[in-house]
C-alpha cells in the first residue's frame, strides 16, 4: 500500500472514488429514461468549456462545468420543444461542442493538444489540490440530488406523464437531471476523460441490472461497481504505468461481462421458480379474440 504515501495518489484516489460514486448514481436515471448516450453528448459539449478555460486562463474544470450545464439545459429544451428535428439539433450541439473545444484550445496561448488530451482521456496523476476541491463540491451536489430526490427522479424517469399527474414539477426535475449529469461529466473529466465519461455512467448500471430486480438494488450495486473499478483502475495504473481512464473503463466492461455470465444461470433458476409458483391454469393473454368480436358490436 506504499502508493498511499504519495500526495498525488491520495488526490487521485479521492477523485476516482467520487467519480465511482457519482457517475453511476446519475447514470441510472439516464439509463432509466433511455438516454444512455446523454453523458457522451455532454462530454462533447464540455470540451468547449475546457477550451474556453484555457483561452481565458480560467479554471478549465469550472469553465467546463458552466458550459456543459448550459449544454445540458439546451439539450433538455431541444428534447422538450423540438419534436421531429431534435436528433439533428442534438448532433449539431455535440459536434459544435467538440469543434469549439479544439478551436479554443489552439487559440489559447498556453494551450496545446497535449493539454486537451489530458481532458479527453483523463489525467489522474495531474489532479491538483484545487481540482480536488472542485470535484468534492460538485460530487456532494450530485450525491445530494441523486439520493435526496431519488423517489421524484425515479417517478419522472419511469413515467413522465404519470409523474406530472402526481403534481411533480416534471420540467424542473428534468432540468435538474440534465444539470446533475453535466456536473458529473466535469467531475469525471479529470479521472476518465470526457470521451470515456459516459462509460462509467452507463456500464455499471447495465452490469448491476444483471443481478437485480429492483431499482434500489440496481442503484446500490452500480455504485459499488463504480467504486471498485475506479479504485482498481487507479491502483493498477500506479503499478503498471497504464492510462487510468482506459483501465477503469476496461475494468467496468470486464465487470459487466463477468456479472452477465454469472447472472445467466441465476435468471434461469429464478424463471423456473416463478413458473413453478404460478398456478397451472393461469390464463395467458387471451383477451384479444374477445376484444375483436366485441369491437364489431360497439365500435364505429
Amino acid at each position: 500500500m506504499d502508493f498511499l504515501d504519495y500526495a498525488f495518489m491520495q488526490r487521485a484516489l479521492l477523485a476516482a472514488v467520487l467519480v465511482g460514486i457519482t457517475a453511476p448514481a446519475v447514470g441510472i436515471y439516464l439509463v432509466q429514461r433511455r438516454q444512455a448516450l446523454m453523458g457522451d453528448g455532454i462530454g462533447h459539449v464540455a470540451m468547449t468549456g475546457v477550451g474556453l478555460g484555457f483561452l481565458l486562463s480560467w479554471s478549465p474544470v469550472w469553465m467546463a462545468t458552466a458550459v456543459s450545464v448550459l449544454g445540458a439545459v439546451l439539450m433538455e429544451l431541444i428534447r422538450w420543444y423540438g419534436r421531429t428535428r431534435g436528433d439533428i439539433a442534438l448532433a449539431m450541439l455535440f459536434y459544435g461542442g467538440m469543434a469549439g473545444g479544439v478551436m479554443f484550445i489552439n487559440l489559447a496561448p498556453t494551450g496545446s493538444n497535449a493539454n486537451l488530451n489530458s481532458y479527453l482521456f483523463g489525467s489522474l496523476s495531474t489532479v491538483s489540490e484545487s481540482d480536488v476541491t472542485a470535484i468534492c463540491v460538485l460530487a456532494a451536489f450530485v450525491v445530494l440530488v441523486t439520493l435526496g430526490l431519488r423517489r421524484q427522479l425515479f417517478a419522472v424517469s419511469q413515467d413522465e406523464e404519470f409523474a406530472r399527474v402526481t403534481g411533480l414539477p416534471v420540467r424542473a426535475l428534468n432540468l435538474l437531471t440534465a444539470v446533475t449529469a453535466a456536473v458529473t461529466v466535469t467531475v469525471a473529466m479529470r479521472v476518465v476523460g470526457l470521451l470515456l465519461v459516459s462509460a462509467l455512467m452507463v456500464v455499471p448500471v447495465a452490469a448491476a441490472q444483471q443481478l437485480s430486480r429492483s431499482f434500489a438494488a440496481t442503484f446500490a450495486i452500480a455504485v459499488a461497481i463504480g467504486i471498485t473499478v475506479t479504485i482498481g483502475g487507479t491502483v493498477t495504473s500506479y503499478y503498471q504505468d497504464v492510462p487510468p481512464g482506459a483501465t477503469i473503463v476496461l475494468l467496468t466492461i470486464a465487470a459487466f461481462i463477468a456479472l452477465t455470465a454469472l447472472a445467466a444461470p441465476l435468471a434461469r433458476r429464478r424463471a423456473r421458480a416463478l413458473a413453478a409458483a404460478q398456478p397451472a391454469g393461469d390464463p395467458a393473454e387471451c383477451a384479444i379474440p374477445a376484444t375483436r368480436a366485441a369491437d364489431h358490436g360497439v365500435d364505429v
Binding site: 424517469s157 383477451a287 369491437d295
Partner: protein, 258 residues
C-alpha cells in the same frame, strides 16, 4: 340526469391540435361527483386526447377545462386525481419492483418524497385491492400485460384519489385481470369515487357505467346512457335519439352501430 353532484371534470368547447391536425373540435364533457363515465369512440376519434387534455398532457388551443371547479391550469390538488395511462409496452430501462412503481403514485401525498408508515400501508393496500400483494417484490418486467395493468391501477389508487381517470384500462388485459379490474373499480365506485374511462368497447365494465360519451372526429356525437348493441339497437343504421333533445331535432347519428 345532470344534477347528480357538483362537476368534477368539466370541459367546455375544448379544442386541441396535434401537429396542425385538429383532434378535438370543441367538445363539451361534464363528469359529476360519483359518476362513472365512459368515453367511447374509434381509434383517432380523439378520446385519448380528450382525457390527456384534462390532465394537462395536451395543450388546448381553445375552450375551458375545470377540475373540481378549479381552472385546470391553476389546479394543484393532484392527490385527488388518480391517473392510469394507456399501457405502453416499453418499461423503464432499469428494473423496478412492483412496490417501487406503486410507491411513486403516493408522491402526491408526501412532502419531499419521504414515505412514512401510512404511505407504505397505502401502497400495500393498493396492491391488495388489485390482487398483486404477493408480487410486491417482483420486477415489473416479469409480469404479464394484465398484471402490469393492475400495477398501474394500484399506482393510481395509492394516493387514495377521489377521481380516477383511466385510458383504455382493458386493452390487452387477460380475462382474469379484467375481472380483478372490474371488481376493483366496482369497489372504488361503491366508496364514492368518480371515474372517467376511455374504452374501446364497454365489455365487462358495462354494468358499472352510468353514462357514455361517444366521440367521432373530435366531436361529441352521443352523451347519455351507454349504448347497447342488443335488440333493435343492434340493427344496422340505427340512430340514437336523445331523450332530452329538442322536439324535431335531427336524431344524432352516432355511427356506433352502422
Amino acid at each position: 340526469m345532470d344534477t347528480k353532484g357538483e362537476p368534477v371534470i368539466s370541459l367546455r368547447g375544448v379544442r386541441a391540435e396535434l401537429g396542425s391536425r385538429p383532434v378535438l373540435r370543441g367538445i363539451d364533457l361534464t363528469v359529476h361527483r360519483g359518476e362513472v363515465v365512459a368515453l367511447l369512440g374509434a381509434n383517432g376519434s380523439g378520446k385519448s386526447t380528450a382525457v390527456r387534455s384534462v390532465i394537462g398532457q395536451v395543450p388546448v388551443t381553445d375552450g375551458r377545462i375545470e377540475l373540481f371547479g378549479t381552472d385546470r391550469r391553476r389546479f394543484r390538488d393532484w392527490r385527488r386525481v388518480g391517473y392510469v395511462p394507456q399501457r405502453t409496452t416499453a418499461s423503464g430501462g432499469v428494473p423496478a419492483t412492483v412496490t417501487e412503481i406503486v410507491s411513486s403514485g403516493r408522491l402526491s401525498r408526501t412532502r419531499f418524497g419521504i414515505l412514512r408508515k401510512a404511505d407504505h400501508e397505502a401502497v400495500r393496500h393498493a396492491l391488495e385491492l388489485v390482487g398483486m400483494a404477493d408480487r410486491a417484490k417482483d420486477s415489473v418486467n416479469a409480469l404479464s400485460g394484465g398484471q402490469h395493468q393492475r400495477v398501474l391501477i394500484a399506482r393510481a389508487l395509492a394516493a387514495e384519489p377521489e377521481l380516477l381517470i383511466m385510458d383504455e384500462p382493458m386493452a390487452g388485459v387477460d380475462l382474469a385481470s379484467q375481472e380483478v379490474l372490474a371488481r376493483t373499480l366496482r369497489e372504488q365506485v361503491a366508496l364514492g369515487a368518480t371515474v372517467l374511462l376511455v374504452l374501446h368497447e364497454l365489455g365487462p365494465l358495462e354494468p358499472l357505467i352510468d353514462r357514455a360519451v361517444v366521440l367521432r372526429d373530435g366531436c361529441v356525437t352521443h352523451d347519455g346512457p351507454p349504448p347497447h348493441a342488443v335488440g333493435q339497437h343492434a340493427l344496422p343504421g340505427h340512430d340514437h335519439v336523445h331523450p332530452h333533445a329538442p322536439a324535431g331535432a335531427e336524431p344524432i347519428r352516432t355511427g356506433l352501430l352502422s
